[in-house]
Assembly symmetry: C2
Homo-oligomer: 451 residues x 2
Amino acid sequence: MERIKPHTLSGFMELTPQKQVRMEKMTEVIKRVYSLYGFTPLDTPVIEAAEVLLAKGGGETEKQIYRFTKGDSDLGLRFDLTVPLAKYVAMNYANLTFPFRRYQIGKVYRGERAQRGRFREFYQADIDIIGDGELSIMNEAEIPSVIYRLFMELGLEKFVIRVNNRKLLTGFYGMLGLSDKSGDIMRTVDKLDKIGQGKVRAILTEDLDIDVGLADEILSFISIKGSNADVLSALEGYRGKNEIFDRGLEELKTVAAYLGAFGVPESHFALDLTIARGLDYYTGTVYETTLPDHPEVGSVCSGGRYDDLAGYYTDRKLPGVGISIGLTRLFFILDDVGLFSEDLPTAPADVLILPMTSDPAPAIRLATALRENGVRAQIYSEAKKFKAKMAYADKLRVPFVAFLGEDEAANGSVSLKDMDTGEQVSVPLSEAPARVAQALKSRPAVRPIKG
Amino acid sequence: MERIKPHTLSGFMELTPQKQVRMEKMTEVIKRVYSLYGFTPLDTPVIEAAEVLLAKGGGETEKQIYRFTKGDSDLGLRFDLTVPLAKYVAMNYANLTFPFRRYQIGKVYRGERAQRGRFREFYQADIDIIGDGELSIMNEAEIPSVIYRLFMELGLEKFVIRVNNRKLLTGFYGMLGLSDKSGDIMRTVDKLDKIGQGKVRAILTEDLDIDVGLADEILSFISIKGSNADVLSALEGYRGKNEIFDRGLEELKTVAAYLGAFGVPESHFALDLTIARGLDYYTGTVYETTLPDHPEVGSVCSGGRYDDLAGYYTDRKLPGVGISIGLTRLFFILDDVGLFSEDLPTAPADVLILPMTSDPAPAIRLATALRENGVRAQIYSEAKKFKAKMAYADKLRVPFVAFLGEDEAANGSVSLKDMDTGEQVSVPLSEAPARVAQALKSRPAVRPIKG
């Protein structure tokens, strides 16, 4: 038979079983935390009509999209979860209840240049709150508080959610008489961390033809740093010169105050005037989340407030606020820098049952009883030597092995070996399930990420 | 702005929020039950290299596949989860521990003719057990026992797992001297339910040029019906004439006996000689699962034993046994015939908090405390009339509403309304979370499907 070399495409993550379990645990925590905040799960197709996907147009997107025809249909793979959400809300407007809170965890596709740590197929884990005509600012504080709780529950304790407000920037550039260039300026300033102050200044004065004095005012504005109180106090100095700026300042103060009320400590959120998010549709609060120990990684979770989610599909005004975790990339980074906890159980079963007699009935009965007690059990039914069976349990790191030999069959017992301690005890068959269930329950809960 | 009509492609399922919750609950039960049997989760890319996907070739598959190029790459969307499993096991052979038990729930793609209840993008929920060189027959009984428990836990009680063994058929056609035609005969006989005995007979005698006497022997063989004991007893009459047949009979007897030991009652499994599964790679036990009240639906869960999973990629002999649930189709059918339980909670939150004063701090504190107790809480922060707020809770079927007005703020309490009973009680703020958590916990567990 002619053989094909089996391979997985470059830029597509495919994990070992052990790592996949870590990914699953992360996903479970994300779903649980998102649900605690009243977000309902949504699932949309991976394939959409190209005209729907590209309604917004835009150069970069169009180049990266996986687009193809099938029969007469011009199709594309979704490149984010926001466009499908906009489509969904516009289509189902009459049957949805607003504010509509949804989470979606799904794969998206971008044909980027292959590069270590960059993926062409990757999971995003999004939450959005969509209002009908209007949406309270409290949501702009609640969204980062969800991320705070989520990252803490994952065990990732060192992160900072950076918060800014686009109105502050729009208003500030208005003060300087640079409103017509504000989009270009924000895109430039957004690169500050990557290219440094000197290059930003050069782009502002040379490429954008901005007066040197004004460029320095911009650089001085985005250099406002310090505690959140320091930043707010510095911003007060600009108050009263531009209406949009003043509204942005009020919003930022409100969001900062509510963030505290939601239990997010100052150690984990920072007002940061350099953040603009490159996308044009953000109109209020914007977020980025960085890992202080890994600045090279950039933002692992970003989003913000927008006034018009679905303008390309409907004339309904649908303002919203949302945030997106680049889950595959986050997983890659955590794995790469060794941040996953080795203590997180990854075994596919809690008990491996070894029948040592020819009649498998007692093993099947024990497996059934264990499963009825919520214990994950596997019967090892291959005809192998004892050593091979134990090696199997070892390799998979199964916490308990249950032996069912002649002696056990004769007196209705099972020998249970705790693979961590090596301790082995004989237990009546009828008591084994509850005993194992109890032992598993009393083990300390382990978070996927360590510190 | 030019508007695009938002639409979802035909053949692609996209659910309302309420239905999506039902789908999620089904998926949760599937994952939990698969895990109880020691299957580890796996995730593979949706896109594979076309040469990998099509290593096996085959006409129907090639016509239906979504295939396209990106740059220089010839790509395709996976059309099942078995080919990616074969690729994965062949690639990762050295690092896997055998028998390797994995489950995978994921979307697959087939460009079928659009038709009601047929999907081009659909979820499959697969389990497979892969051996290294050999695999015990006990696994062939355990696989349908997983499906039995799963369907029962979903609440779908009326189903029958039909079991046959390909060796019986191969052996029987060998007895008749029709070995060279056995593939064609099996594919014909497989259509018995769809086209009837007359047409099967016509194809056998005319298209396949089989002697009328032999065709009648085939029809009489596949007409063996009755209790499982009846079927096995009738099969005994053919024993001793063909070695492969005799092995198949032993296997079928063993699987039937083990199925009983695994707790599957005779009401839910039937030995059925008409089942062959169209695919060529099944070599032993084969399964189909039908709903007696909905015969028009065909099999909702099928699979079997194969001797050579990954022969197109590796010279390792990797026998296995697996089964696949067509999840999207099953969901569609259950929904279509109204089998989902109306009692299954679909609200995105357990408690909707209505702040009735200008200070939202007490509402935020209550929401935080509820969430810390595992209660899903949402603050309704829009400036709407009371009636609109209650309508929101009603529409989403939120079980509890918590009012925080002037009175409650003054005495540190919250008014909790049970939306089912209409009962409203005033509770100290500090006691509310535990009280709601307890009330939710004491509600009866509801299975997604009724009866």
